[in-house]
Symmetry: C2
Subunit: 436 residues, 2 copies
């Protein structure tokens, strides 16, 4: 039986899960796949602290260069995260003809062009299933199972932390700060949760999904990105009354020659499968030109689920090594050197339905003033709900749903409306996704 030797850089939580699969399940994998996977070396700055998985001291090193330059190692698993030194180590490993498996979404979203091109030039494979949605096979489904489809749309919940916070805010009527604290206490949010709650992490993952769904380079700065920090329990409650749930959605929609690519809190009809994704789960709802809607749901993070995704890539590549091939499924495109950039619809040109909440003084003529401004911008109102009445002259919530309108028009109308003397504070705008 063919041996394939693996080196692991990063012996944290996910790394320990990977080691555990090698130890507990290596013999089963050999039986199923016909290849003997050997974990040869593990690098981490900390090789002293006890881990879930025990490994003999001689397998450990603090110098990752020992792994990327080891002539016996065929596959390097990179689980350190961050840009440097991960990028340099991966590029060195590629130059040394080692195949790569990584969960590093930030690196691939920011420096994918460099890395994918280097890999293609050196004829090595890169597996990155674990970089998006953990255990859910989103990369394999897009690149292989749905390869005969044009991807019409993608709706994704691909950040478990923010979904956990929104779920808690919905189910227990908590405000954002309290729900965040609970997420941190449960270990679902980091001490610095910025990248999760401001959308950056999900934007990186959306960029990766876009690049493989459309076989193009993706300029991440062209992806509109808005986090969940401004969402209030009141808006979640109003949304529920209107039949919606609030989710941080990664959205891609194919338009003529271009693609909408955006990441923001979104009202989703309560009966849509993506609306039912609870707590720290991830999910992807993909519409293909032939497949129609495919919905995938599972754990987007965590030691063993992510390790399962890492190992599926390791085995995919081991199968290629065993057959003496590489590049069987191109990372993004068969010709990385001449890869076009994905044309992303500018956010101001996006047309969708909107939920808008104003805090308005309860005076005669308020609605007429607001609807007059909407009319001026050709924005059609689908429904208006005023919640409660105030006798003391304080502001009450006024919720309006629009028909499909251009983002530019809506933003300009809101700028005018917020300057009305009957409006208090900032209007809240949440986009609606009605697509099946």
């Amino acid at each position: 039986m063919r041996n394939v030797r693996v080196g692991l850089i990063g012996f944290g939580t996910i790394g320990s899960g990977v080691v555990k699969i090698f130890q507990d399940y290596g013999a089963d994998i050999a039986e199923k796949v016909g290849i003997n996977l050997v974990l040869k070396k593990i690098a981490d700055l900390d090789i002293v602290s006890p881990r879930t998985a025990f490994v003999p001291q001689e397998m450990l090193t603090t110098d990752a260069r020992e792994i990327v330059s080891d002539p016996e190692i065929n596959i390097v698993i990179e689980l350190m995260g961050g840009i440097e030194p991960a990028r340099s180590l991966i590029l060195q490993a590629i130059n040394n003809k080692k195949h790569i498996v990584t969960a590093n979404k930030a690196l691939l979203a920011i420096d994918g062009d460099l890395i994918f091109r280097a890999a293609q030039e050196c004829s090595v494979d890169i597996g990155f299933e674990a970089s998006v949605a953990g255990t859910i096979p989103v990369i394999k489904t897009l690149r292989e199972a749905l390869v005969a489809n044009r991807i019409e749309s993608l709706l994704g919940i691909i950040n478990g932390t923010s979904n956990y916070i929104l779920s808690k805010m919905t189910d227990e009527h908590l405000d954002f700060a309290t729900a965040l604290k609970q997420a941190q206490a449960k270990g679902y949010a980091e001490a610095d949760p910025s990248f999760d709650v401001n959308g950056t992490d999900a934007k990186h993952k959306l960029a990766i999904l876009l690049s493989i769904a459309y076989g193009k380079k993706v300029n991440i700065d062209a992806i509109y990105c808005e986090g969940i920090t401004k969402i209030t329990p009141e808006d979640i409650k109003f949304a529920a009354e209107l039949g919606y749930r609030v989710k941080l959605l990664a959205i891609a929609i194919r338009r003529e020659g271009r693609v909408e690519a955006r990441l923001h809190p979104t009202l989703v009809p309560a009966n849509h499968p993506i609306a039912r994704v609870e707590n720290n789960y991830n999910a992807l709802h993909i519409v293909g030109s032939s497949a129609n809607a495919v919905f995938l749901h599972g754990e987007g993070a965590g030691m063993m689920p992510t390790a399962s995704a890492v190992m599926s890539d390791v085995i995919d590549i081991a199968r290629n090594i065993s057959c003496g091939i590489s590049g069987r499924v191109p990372s993004r495109h068969p010709d990385e050197r001449n890869l076009a950039e994905l044309a992303i619809v500018p956010m101001e040109d996006v047309a969708t339905n909107y939920y808008i909440r104003f805090m308005a003084l309860d005076r005669p003529g308020v609605l007429s003033k607001i609807s007059g401004i909407f009319a001026k911008y050709a924005i059609s109102i689908a429904s208006v709900i005023q919640k409660g009445r105030m006798q003391d002259g304080s502001a009450v919530p006024l919720v309006m749903l629009t028909h499909s309108s251009r983002e530019r028009a809506v933003c300009e109308a809101l700028l005018e409306i917020r300057n009305l003397d009957v409006i208090a504070g900032e209007p809240m705008l949440i986009r609606i996704e009605e697509r099946d």
Copy 2:
């Protein structure tokens, strides 16, 4: 760019969908994959009737042997269905070193041993993603994405016809016969719906899933199989009151050294993802040892969704051809010649919870008689509900839920209880699946 030539046997609905993908999307596939797929020849007994997809007359033949013996053709797509002549044509094609893509679940479930072994001996690949759950990538997910997992359990809705009928019975309180007629009128059930409603079709698919999940031969006669024809709207209603929905579930559960493999109507908690699979949709809920729960949902049949799955196999194999390899992912196991048979737990040894409905005369002492017999067989009752009272001495429904009990004990107890003079007609027994 490498050309890969394809022959199609069976120009019905799915075949027309495949032709449509070649025509509408061939150029996009070539761009994405770097391989030029050429549909060379189509065989069908009827080459006269108009199809959704137009093809020039010279591409058509009534003689499928022209395809399996054409030295230019690399991949044969078999979409005729049934055992013969599909089996002979596939075996001839394999002998002629052609790779196979098929949606023929009956053939693979019954004669898979013959076909997979022949393919391995002749070094050709067999793609059969379209044979189970249409557009949902269940085969790819089990064999590749979750390859580093022991499959702890599989819960599947893999027959759209019976799920459509049960959905209609649930939502519109129809009886089986009326719901079946509606399914036939909508084109979701065949004129002869036996294989769909008696569970045979789903059993074939479960056999295929078991064989790849566990890398073993599967004796389909060892799979317990019970259809939906006896389900009544009353039982669906009682189930709903108890918080369950009735689904025809394909179930596989790993036990020490063996696997439970059964296909029967099942009460599923209403909040389980599989309980929410509506109408003609299919879904698979897979629990892997590391991945935990992965849920996949999509269209299990229909022209374009099934054609999408067929084409994903064609492209998978074309990628292998382009790399000059075969057998990269074994059909079931790297060594088909020495494949063991899956040990399936005999149904009488299965332990699960049960829903049992009796029609009992409303007389004092009925419950004591019934519960006395259950006690004798060590069956523990979780709850009892008597629905309504009858003054005229006719029977009323008495619903009991058991704790986990052995099938053998439950069946023996029911044999005794049905002979009680206070019991009218046959008891209804539906198994409950409480697994997360």
